[in-house]
Point group: C2
Chain length 141, copies 2
DNA sequence: CGAAATCTTGAGCAACTCACTAGACAAAAT
DNA sequence: ATTTTGTCTAGTGAGTTGCTCAAGATTTCG
């Protein structure tokens, strides 16, 4: 029931990018050094965030990465879903990636006790993370 | 950010055991069949729950497993921690298994933004699961 | 007592995921 | 043209997950 390093590194990297938002770009090695993250691994994370539309990048000599959206528009939930997949603790209660349980005897029935409990958990997690913006995140530093 | 099959199977097995609480014992194959769980795998789960003091067992011809505590006294949080380990999404916010982050630059500082956000998540999860009893769980079936 | 039924223990294993590494390639600046 | 950056794809070692197997211990019943 843990978040991966990917999410953790991703959030820490965004923390740095929030600071220079609207200003200069940051290069991967700058982020990596300040946040103590293996640079090639960080790269994959930054690229994923770029593909998801959160970051822009420029190659070449004065290249680097920059936030493309304002920190108020980005939530921790978004970031974690990009890097770690759905938040739901079991897939039959996921709203973004629902999947019917294959082996659960309650799958066919009208209600499943597990689903009810896990649904509450999912909602609680999503409620926090989908309302926690990067601006608040970065500001609490 | 998922719970394992172990927790899922464990909870489903306890669902069955709640039904016969105070009455007869259940054998692993009965539970396995009804809940559609591989019997040898289930066994490991039942033994873990036994070692944790939730179940009693008897060997031999009329043997089987039975709940040793009342369903009101057992919470989903307890069960999941037994089978899956701590609930916290990152170990630096775990109350039952705290561990200082090795590489985080905020580890030394007075406050860490990640810790604050993840702490809220941890509390929300624990709040639900540590108050959700097996009796409520089984009753919602 | 002895056989059958059941739990107990420990080991093993294939597939997968995680965290990271490496290397070739593309584009931008000088 | 060369250097500096990002881009992409693939690989890899360690660990975890989900499960299987086999040998043993204990209880009941005939």
């Amino acid at each position: 029931m843990k978040f991966s390093k990917k999410s953790e590194y991703g959030l820490r990297a965004l923390l740095e990018l929030c600071e220079t938002y609207g200003g200069r770009v940051l290069q991967r090695h700058e982020i990596a050094e300040r946040q103590n993250i293996p640079v090639e691994f960080l790269e994959q994370i930054l690229l994923a965030l770029k593909r998801a539309g959160l970051l822009a990048s420029r190659r070449g000599v004065r290249g680097g990465y920059a936030l493309i959206k304002s920190p108020e528009e980005i939530t921790l939930g978004q970031v974690i879903r990009i890097l770690d997949g759905p938040l739901a603790p079991i897939s039959c209660v996921s709203k973004t990636a629902y999947q019917k349980c294959a082996d659960c005897p309650y799958a066919a029935k009208p209600s499943c006790p597990l689903q009810q409990a896990m649904g509450e958990v999912r909602d609680a997690i999503a409620n926090i993370l989908d309302h926690y913006t990067l601006s608040r995140f970065a500001h609490s530093k």
